[in-house]
């Protein structure tokens, strides 16, 4: 009897890792990848080691250590995380592994919650390692045990690349067995493999190139690639990963006679592509992000001198940016084959108000930004970083966001370029531990006259509340050292370091004034737990209300931008809604003492 369960794609991926006998799991949180480690960590009957690492490079290296000890290891991250881990990863491809090693790197077409749309399949090509590209959550789960075996067979790390709609899609999933037997760890001292001196690296590069064809042949035989040739079809469709299911559904709906090649692994199955190209006049290639498959198909067609019309991203049939869907496939079909498919947009005679995500009601970052702006003023420059607090763009205190950890180094660069205005950058606690520390060290060492604000909300909030070295517990809830941000900053040589409560406007504004006047690198640590984790921990504050008698309708509190404060246009009076979390900052902003705690 089979067991079916309804689960999130990332939960299915975690299940796949269990079914593949994972022994060590590491990662750094990043949407859409975070729930994989969260799910594995939440299991009661754990027989594997698991950690949230401080960044992706470290996470990768811990997983490599495990795989070199001969056990099955996984490291998870989002696409931009692989940029951080690229240094070990590129050389790891040469050295290879003993135990199976899967790097799960989740891509985010359309930037649902990311700063770019890079395609991890390019990294796989670049590093010469295979890549698995699942088309459904079920396939994602089923692919993982296979990927471990494949990695061990060829002694090479593999990339597994889900996209947002796989990671955050849900589906009924047929479960498999979880093995109980696992390899015993044993580090084999293969110095010509694990020591990448030039003398060892050169032959490993030759070796890596020599296994490309055998890997491709093995993948072509795998269940993740499939070719359906229709005897009378004059054109074919090639779909890669999740895009293949959109194409398949549209073809079924239209009842079109087209041959169909589904690709789920890289290097691409050249044999299957050639087989398709030999039977059709034209092919449409449907894949998300970069034209990775398309470029390969064109090379194959040219090498075999096949006069097939090849359509995809080049030529503008399929968009090169953004997420694909069934409509995008229909549009591409329309353009490629002049079919008459009706357009699917409609106009609505209503003006809708935009509803962008915002900092939560009572979020301490809003209070910090408010005070920062008060003290540093409109003229100052505000580099920032990646996290919930990037939403502080609405407070006018987020003026740059490049990549994790960059706020402090960008601020330094602005200063050293000769920028004369005050510079105050902001970075979250987790991001500071991730790669902000290096930047602070550099700022201090090279004497940047800037203010660094660490927004310490005691958690990695944006990705779903994962612990970091500052919170005092690990991924499994075990107690551990609580690293002091203040001591760390002092140890790195920052001349002025203060810890303040952002809910206390007077206190934090005094701290900002002192930091602004300080010659050198000053640090203000605004410490107040995330309102969501506080609520989950059962901490309740008394909410606030507006006294309509005292309210003058000046809207100062409304301008603060808290979602719990609305303005009643009829009575020209501010109103605090049920969303209020009781931080009390608006009461300090009000000049007329019209905001007070609800009396119990």
């Amino acid at each position: 009897m089979t067991t079916r369960e309804y689960m999130l794609g990332n939960v299915a991926i975690a299940r796949g890792l269990l079914e593949g006998g994972v022994q060590v799991a590491t990662g750094y949180p990043g949407t859409p990848s975070s729930e994989i480690i969260d799910t594995l960590a939440a299991r009661k009957d754990r027989d594997y080691y698991i950690e949230w690492s401080v960044n992706e490079k470290v996470a990768m290296e811990v997983a490599v250590g495990a795989a070199w000890a001969g056990v099955r290891a996984v490291v998870t991250m989002k696409h931009v995380g692989l940029n951080v881990a690229a240094d070990p990863f590129m050389t790891l491809a040469y050295a290879g592994t003993k135990g199976g090693l899967i790097a799960i790197v989740a891509d985010d077409p359309s930037c649902h919650s990311s700063q770019n749309e890079q395609d991890t399949r390019r990294y796989a090509q670049f590093a010469l390692v295979p890549c698995f590209d699942p088309s459904t959550p079920q396939e994602a789960k089923d692919m993982l045990p296979y990927a471990f075996e494949f990695s061990e067979k060829f002694e090479i790390p593999v990339i597994f690349r889900p996209t947002t709609r796989i990671s955050h899609g849900k589906s009924d999933i047929e479960l498999g067995e979880i093995p109980t037997e696992k390899s015993a760890p044993h580090f084999e001292k293969l110095l010509d493999r694990w020591v990448m001196l030039p003398k060892n690296a050169r032959p490993r590069h030759t070796h890596l190139l020599s296994i490309q064809q055998p890997m491709e042949d093995a993948l072509a035989e795998s269940p993740w690639n499939s070719l359906e040739l229709k005897p009378d079809a004059t054109f074919g469709v090639i779909g890669a990963g999740i895009a293949s299911v959109y194409a398949k559904e549209a073809l079924q709906e239209l009842g079109l006679e087209a041959s169909f090649l589904k690709i789920g692994t890289y290097p691409v199955p050249k044999k299957l592509i050639l087989e398709l190209l030999e039977t059709v006049n034209a092919v449409l290639i449907f894949e998300e992000l970069e034209p990775v498959v398309e470029e390969q198909v064109k090379m194959i067609a040219q090498e075999a001198s096949l006069p097939v019309l090849i359509m995809g991203k080049t030529g503008g049939f399929v968009p090169r940016e953004g997420e694909l869907d069934i409509s995008a496939f229909l549009e591409a079909l329309n353009k490629a084959f002049d079919l008459d498919i009706e357009p699917q947009k409609r106009s609505i005679p209503l003006e809708l108000a935009p509803r962008p995500p915002a900092l939560c009601a009572g979020c301490s970052h809003r209070a910090t930004f408010y005070s920062m702006r008060k003290v540093f003023g409109k003229d100052a420059v505000y580099p920032s970083d990646i996290g919930c607090y990037t939403l502080g763009i609405q407070s006018g205190t987020v003026e740059t966001t490049l990549c994790m950890g960059s706020s402090i180094s960008i601020a330094s660069g602005l200063y050293h370029a000769g920028e004369k205005r005050p510079i105050c950058c902001s970075i979250g606690d987790s991001t500071f531990f991730h790669t902000g520390m290096n930047s602070l060290l550099n700022a201090v060492f090279n004497k940047a006259n800037i203010t660094v604000t660490i927004l310490d909300n005691r958690i990695t909030a944006m990705t779903g509340h994962q612990p970091n070295p500052g919170v005092g517990f690990t991924v499994t809830g075990e107690k551990t050292v609580e690293v002091s941000l203040a001591n760390l900053c002092r140890a790195m040589g920052a001349g002025s370091v203060v810890v303040v409560d952002p809910y206390n406007l007077e206190e934090i504004q005094e701290a900002f004034k002192a930091a602004k006047d300080f010659e050198g690198t000053s640090v203000v640590i605004a410490k107040q737990p995330c309102v969501i984790s506080e609520k989950r921990a059962g901490i309740r504050r008394v909410p606030y209300i507006v006294d309509p008698e005292k309210c003058e309708g000046c809207k100062q509190c409304v301008k603060f931008g808290c979602p719990a404060i609305e303005f009643d246009e009829e009575n020209k009076c501010a109103v605090i809604t049920a969303l209020c979390s009781g931080c009390g900052v608006c009461a300090q902003i009000c000049k007329f003492e019209a905001i007070r705690e609800v009396k119990r």
Binding site: S113, T136, K345, R346
Partner: protein, 200 residues
């Protein structure tokens, strides 16, 4: 699994605002679908976008391909907030059904004076021109059931009559997924939501 009876196939879009419980609503339906033996695919909004932002969930019952509903493909639109009913209309079939909670949530863009919130009655009038609209205040209904927080479950009750899943299985799913001490309130909210649509 690929042979699915026509009447067992349904594409449902749930729209709302981050924090309203759209994910729980879709989970109730998803879990019930698996229990009743229907293949199900769903897609939801996570991460930064859920912090008070506009959210949309796709639920596809009786499908074994992708989780994304094609444009003009949804049979039913369940809107937990009136303005959010309009934002994703492209996905609804011509003549499709819209079940809408009439309680607005004012976005920060409106409170800060950057935009205007459209008149709720005007929204309903525009929607009624092309679609079958079932509108009621689900927040008030949930309050009557015992807690405003049960609004999402009241809305699942409201859409339950359109789903190819027996009511009893849906209620079991509600019981399995809501916090233990709120089961009674949520089941009541479900029943009240269902009745509201049956009567209209």
């Amino acid at each position: 699994m690929s042979q699915i009876e026509g009447e067992k196939k349904l594409d449902l879009l749930i729209t709302g605002v981050g924090g309203q419980g759209a994910i729980l609503a879709s989970d109730i339906i998803g879990k019930a679908a698996v229990v009743s033996g229907l293949p199900i695919r769903a897609a939801e909004t996570h991460g930064m976008a859920q912090r008070g932002g506009s959210v949309v969930n796709h639920i596809r019952l009786g499908t074994d391909l992708g989780s994304m509903i094609p444009k003009k493909g949804a049979d039913v639109l369940l809107a937990l907030e009136p303005m959010e009913a309009v934002r994703y209309l492209d996905f609804l079939k011509d003549g499709g059904v819209i079940i809408v909670n009439t309680q607005p949530i004012i976005p920060v863009t409106v409170t800060s004076g950057l935009a205007k919130y459209p008149d709720v009655q005007e929204i309903l009038d525009v929607l009624s021109e092309k679609y079958i609209v079932k509108a009621f205040n689900a927040d008030e209904l949930a309050s009557e059931a015992g807690s405003r927080l049960a609004m999402n479950v009241a809305m699942v009750g409201a859409v339950s009559g359109y789903l190819p899943i027996p009511k009893e299985i849906l209620i079991e799913s509600v019981k399995a997924l809501v916090p233990q001490k709120t089961i009674e309130i949520n089941v009541r909210a479900f029943e009240m939501g269902r009745r509201k649509v049956e009567e209209s």
